[in-house]
């Protein structure tokens, strides 16, 4: 191989503490090096020209540039050598700036170090191979997991862009948490009025296929070509026939079924339509409460149904969809307030969660929009809101801020004062977090215009006295103990990862943080990508956020998918693992450890088992290479021989 070495002075950034001329001179002694020079700014236009000229005049087959970090300029130089006719992977960059000239002032030691680094790069380059990307066709369909507002936005944007969308929603209706809200902050506009039309759109768009009451069972494949198994859970109602007329729900004798939509405040029938605006508006039988499915007698709905849609023998069904990209908008759960025993959540009927209160406020809620206490139906006059229940508390492993509670408490307090003008609202808070357009003004309105009393401090204990609740706590601003006799206590339960978040992440092969929120590729610069190519994030599954941010992320994820699908094929990174079949013993350890499912075992005609890399799935981590006992699987561009050569050359 004929190698050229280019030592960048980077002005004085490198030349100030490294004798670049001496490095270039020494480099000429290294094996295969036929040309070496130092230059003022190698990355500049004339610097790149110098490389390209040297490639042609010295017939170079490989290039080493000793300059800044390859994380900075590797793409630049790869393009430069490619233009001069060399394969871009016949290039190596020695990082003699960040890792050398900038961190030491001893010119001699720095120069010796730079020489070593160039020598290592040369030895690695001598074992480089020309690598070529492959093109794979893209299936221009997108899967959206989760039908909350983020997923809906993503699906509608993709649909508007002409893409076919498959949406999977775990619950019987889309809408997510937002559908349960009465109003939204800081504008107090009606939640279902703004979400409803979008939900209807999802149902009506011809290029959106909705699987409600379904879950993702398994995912295989890779960017451009995923295969998704979807489990359609048994509803016991043929949704193709059901018209959503609701006759069955009128006649169903089992009227004590848990009402998920109303957070358990009311009861519903065993066969039910979750809420009036549900999409799809279809009936479902809750098998835990159905008299026929639990006791074997009843079948009233079957007799009533005008279109004969009831199917008691229905089983879960698995359907397979093929898509090219996946948007994960799987949402969140709310913290279980029962963890704080001192607040009595779950024990005292009038200590409720904010989401329950939201349902009480809602005109479609269990009390028709009239504020009443769950215990005796009396209208409460003294209402205490407690913030940070399951947020910013290390003792319950929730150190993060849920971001939305301060705002929704203010909203609920304002609405309470609207509904019951002679009521008193107290908010016990730690700090008020209201960064957002019009948010801080909204809090001020609650305090000043609506007279909501904000008390800074933690509530220590809640206990009943008569039919009321005594809230004991501290006012840390006044430095006094506070005791309020309340009619109703609302706990602002924080956001936590959805119960199914971790298993879903395993299926998607994406990573999650210690609290179960999905990890984006880069916290600032790649907020909706994951490290699994072709999988994007939207909404609270990535971390707590409010509706505008979720919608924004939904649109962002959709635009990422559209950018991906704007091409017919995608180019793969060739720095992936490769199996030497002659050496492979078929032990399958690589398949076992691969985090991306990029390896599968195949059987040759002679019956021997060999592993095989799906190059489009492989992300190039090299775990298989490290695991393979006899190194039959090698990570291209970072092979054992290359790493060993770098080690060996240091100690010759």
């Amino acid at each position: 191989m004929r190698i050229g070495v280019f030592i960048c002075q980077c002005g004085t950034n490198i030349a100030g503490t490294v004798d670049t001329r001496a490095v270039a001179k020494k480099a000429m002694e290294f094996p295969d090096v036929v040309f070496a020079v130092d230059y003022m700014y190698t990355c500049s236009e004339p610097g790149q020209k110098e490389i390209q000229d040297a490639i042609s005049s010295h017939r170079l087959q490989g290039v080493v540039v000793a300059a800044c970090s390859p994380r900075m300029h590797e793409p630049t130089f790869r393009r430069a050598v490619k233009k001069a006719g060399i394969n871009p992977y016949m290039f190596e960059q020695a990082n003699i700036r960040e890792h050398c000239s900038w961190i030491g002032t001893d010119r001699e030691a720095n120069t010796r170090k730079a020489i070593d680094m160039v020598r290592m790069s040369v030895e690695k380059l001598r074992r480089n191979q020309a690598l070529f990307s492959t093109q794979v066709a893209v299936n221009k369909r997108v899967l959206v997991i989760g039908g909350g507002v983020a997923g809906i936005q993503a699906a509608l944007d993709c649909s508007d862009g002409g893409l076919e969308v498959v949406m999977v929603e775990r619950e019987p209706s889309i809408g997510g948490k937002m559908a349960k809200l009465d109003k939204t902050f800081p504008t107090i506009d009606c939640s279902s009025c703004i979400l409803g039309p979008k939900m209807v759109d999802v149902a009506q768009k011809e290029n959106i296929r909705l699987y409600a009451y379904s879950e993702v069972e398994a995912i295989s494949g890779y960017i451009g070509n995923f295969k998704v198994d979807i489990r359609k859970k048994a509803t016991y109602v043929d949704w193709n026939a059901c018209t959503g007329c609701g006759e069955c729900t009128q006649k169903c004798p089992s009227k004590k079924a848990f009402d998920h939509f109303n957070e358990g405040l009311g009861a519903t029938t065993a066969i039910n339509i979750p809420f009036p605006q549900a999409i799809p508006k279809k009936a479902r039988i809750d098998s835990d409460y159905c008299r026929y499915l639990t006791g074997g007698k009843c079948r009233v709905c079957e007799k009533i149904c005008p279109v004969k849609a009831i199917r008691f023998d229905m089983k879960d069904e698995i359907v397979t969809e093929e898509v090219g990209a996946i948007i994960v908008a799987s949402g969140y759960d709310l913290f279980d307030a029962r963890v704080y025993g001192e607040y009595g959540g779950g024990r005292y009927p009038d200590v409720i969660s904010a989401m329950q209160y939201e349902r009480i406020l809602s005109a479609s809620g269990p009390y028709g929009g009239h504020i009443r206490r769950p215990s005796d139906g009396r209208e409460p006059k003294e209402i205490v809101f407690i913030s940070c229940v399951g947020s910013r508390d290390i003792s319950v492993d929730r150190p993060y801020c849920s971001g939305i509670c301060c705002m929704y408490i203010a909203k609920q307090a304002i609405m309470t004062r609207d509904h019951i003008p002679d009521s008193n609202c107290y908010v016990s808070y730690m700090d008020i977090r209201a960064p957002g357009k019009g948010y801080d003004e909204f809090i001020r309105r609650a305090q000043e215009e609506y007279g909501v009393k904000y008390i800074r401090g933690r509530v220590g204990r809640i206990y009943p006295r008569g039919d009321r609740l005594v809230v004991q706590g501290a006012d840390t601003l006044l430095g006094v103990q506070v005791e309020i006799e309340a009619d109703l206590v609302v706990l602002a339960t924080g956001v936590e990862c959805s119960a199914g978040a971790r298993p879903l992440a395993e299926k998607l092969r994406i990573s999650y943080d210690q609290h179960g929120f999905y990890m984006e590729s880069h916290p600032k610069l790649r907020p909706v990508e994951t490290n699994t190519a072709g999988v994007f994030l939207a909404g609270v599954c990535q971390g707590p956020k409010d509706i505008p941010a979720s919608v924004g992320q939904g649109s962002a994820a959709a635009s990422k998918v559209q950018a991906l699908f704007s091409r017919d094929t995608i180019e793969t990174d060739p720095q992936v693992a490769h199996v030497n079949e002659n050496m492979c013993i078929g032990c399958g350890k690589c398949e076992q450890v691969c985090p991306f499912g990029a390896i599968r075992m195949k059987t040759l005609r002679d019956g021997s088992r060999k592993s095989e890399v799906l190059e489009t799935v492989c992300q190039g981590c090299g775990l298989c290479n490290a695991t393979c006992p006899n190194k039959a699987i090698q990570l291209r561009h970072s092979t054992d021989d290359q790493i060993l050569a770098e080690i060996n050359t240091l100690f010759d």
Binding site: S69, P70, R71, M72, N95, R97, E98, H99, C100, W102, I103, G104, T105, D106, A109, N110, R112, K113, D116, M117, M120, R509, I510, S511, D513, Q514, M519, N531, Q575, V593, P595, F596, Q619, G620, C621, G622, L623, N625, A626, T627, L635, S638, D640, I643, L644, E646, I647, N648, L650, F651
Partner: protein, 155 residues
């Protein structure tokens, strides 16, 4: 590699560093950008992930004469490839406990987790590890011939 008898006490200390591309290599870049002064003994090999580390690379480095081996990657849970460093952690810890049994100084090998933003921590890691290695002195390497050896009887 030099044997114990002709090891030059004055020769330059060389530490091999295996750094994952996504976190620690970036952390070392950050330290450079911030001009955090560090000893010059470290020679960095860029690898995609600590999961790429076969403990034998560390053994090879030590046998070849590396005075120290430093492996650094993303913090557990932050791996770019989700789980690579979890595998690496087990493998490297087994090696670290095994080395002294074979007569290697286990202090010559260290593994740490440094993120791309932790330039200052990287400076501390490099400084501290280099000091450790300087205290241990150059790696004497293996004896090429053995004249007398201790006997061990087990039964």
């Amino acid at each position: 590699m030099s044997s114990k008898s002709d090891a030059k006490q004055e020769r330059e200390i060389k530490i091999v560093g295996f750094l994952c591309n996504w976190c620690s290599y970036g952390g070392a870049d950050t330290a450079g950008v911030c001009r955090f002064r560090q000893p010059t003994d470290l020679r960095i090999i860029r690898i995609p992930c600590t999961g790429r580390i076969d403990p034998l690379m560390i053994v090879k480095s030590l046998i070849q004469g590396a005075d120290g081996v430093l492996v650094s990657g993303c913090h557990p849970n932050d791996c770019h490839y989700a789980v690579g460093n979890f595998y690496a952690r087990r493998r490297m810890e087994v090696l670290k406990r095994f080395l002294p049994y074979m007569g290697f100084q286990s202090d010559r090998f260290r593994y740490t987790w440094v993120s791309a933003s932790e330039g200052q921590i990287w400076q501390q890691v490099v400084t501290d590890f280099s000091e450790t290695i300087h205290r241990l002195g150059p790696n004497p390497g293996l004896h090429q011939t053995v004249d007398s050896a201790p006997a061990v009887s087990w039964f």
